[in-house]
């Protein structure tokens, strides 16, 4: 009998303790509010964060980006990718052709005719960005956020639009560059 009432008493008190905590939270809701009002507020959270300066560590992993002008076609990222979501076609060009320099001063020897990244397959492991000798492939945001703004909002209605094509040469360009020098030699 005593046990019976003790049980009732215990359940009431423990419930009230729990309720008290909830009510306490309700009243400090404005100050301790943790919800991020997403479309209006964006990461990094404007205030109420956990005490770091978001300017320093904005290294969230999001869309892969390639500065195609800097790419020398070494294919290191393609080999490092565990899933094979990067496809590169690099064409050999005759020695006389000048493809320009990268931003760090390396001479480009290969013509990048195709640089596709399939973001539906990417597993965001970041492994492709480390071996790049020219630092031209990177995840947007982070230290590269000046080059390319952070972008993690790119859902699509169609899957094929998630394959990003970075190569900027047209078929005509390829034909012109790869075939032009032999023609010149004939003239000479």
């Amino acid at each position: 009998m005593k046990n019976y009432f003790q049980n009732i008493w215990q359940s009431i008190t423990t419930l009230l303790i729990g309720l008290g905590i909830t009510i306490k939270h309700m009243f400090k809701a404005r100050k301790g509010n943790v919800t991020l009002q997403y479309p209006e507020e964006k990461w990094p959270r404007p205030e109420r964060n956990i005490g770091f300066d978001p300017k320093n560590y904005n290294i969230i992993r999001s869309k892969l980006h390639v500065d195609i002008d800097d790419c020398i076609g070494c294919r290191k990222c393609e080999r490092a990718c565990p899933v094979g979501c990067i496809k590169i076609d690099a064409l050999k060009v005759p020695k006389e052709t000048d493809l320009g320099l990268t931003s760090s001063g390396t001479t480009k020897r290969l013509l990048i005719s195709r640089f596709d990244i399939d973001m539906t397959e990417c597993m965001f492991c970041n492994l492709c960005t480390y071996p790049c000798p020219e630092d031209c492939i990177f995840m947007t945001g982070g230290p590269n956020s000046e080059k390319q703004p952070l972008d993690y909002e790119y859902s699509q209605y169609d899957r094929s639009r998630l394959i990003f094509k970075f190569a900027n040469v047209t078929k005509n360009d390829i034909r012109r560059i790869t075939t032009a020098p032999p023609v010149q030699q004939e003239i000479l």
Binding site: Y38, P39, E121, M123, F124, Y152, Y154, S155, L162
Partner: protein
């Protein structure tokens, strides 16, 4: 809005029935609580305190009969594929599918040697929005859901299709 507009007092809004229907559908798209793999944890995080999906009118439902949106969150294996299809068939019209994360989009990391992984959930059910990421950040998922809401809002359920 035709001849009815500006003929009433200020606090009366007129709209086409079509628009009202699609607006109502879009703002109360209840999703089907159906986690498969890693993305399910992010889906839980999206529904939990930090991101709070109920802000945009989305509530988790445990039964496919009560749900409008199915979030395929995670890898669909061949053993699971027939069940996913079954669950999709059980949902009442109008129904929408969000493919969340790389695995549901195209098999993702498991698409190369995965002998037991379905290469993209769109092989078995139609997908409305693809949310990339592995797993997508909760913000990305919310953005995908907002995109879906846009899509629903543009629908005209009563207008005859040409």
């Amino acid at each position: 809005m035709g001849f009815l507009e500006n003929r009433f007092e200020d606090n009366i809004i007129t709209a086409k029935l079509d628009q009202i229907l699609s607006w109502a559908r879009s703002t109360s798209a209840w999703y089907f609580q159906f986690g498969l793999a890693c993305c399910a944890i992010e889906m839980m995080a999206t529904a939990a305190s930090r991101h709070d999906l109920e802000r945009i009118g989305m509530m988790p439902r445990s039964s496919p009969r009560q749900a409008d949106v199915m979030i395929v969150a995670g890898t669909v294996t061949l053993k699971m594929a027939s069940r996913v299809k079954l669950l999709y068939d059980q949902m009442a019209d109008p129904k929408y599918v969000i493919s969340m994360g790389s695995c549901a989009n195209s098999g993702g990391p498991y698409s190369r040697q995965g002998y037991h992984v379905l290469k993209g959930v769109d092989q078995i059910i139609p997908v409305d929005v693809y949310v990339p990421g592995c797993p997508p950040r909760p913000e990305s998922l919310i953005e995908g859901l907002l995109k879906l809401q846009d899509k629903i809002r543009k629908e005209r359920p009563l207008t005859k299709k040409k």
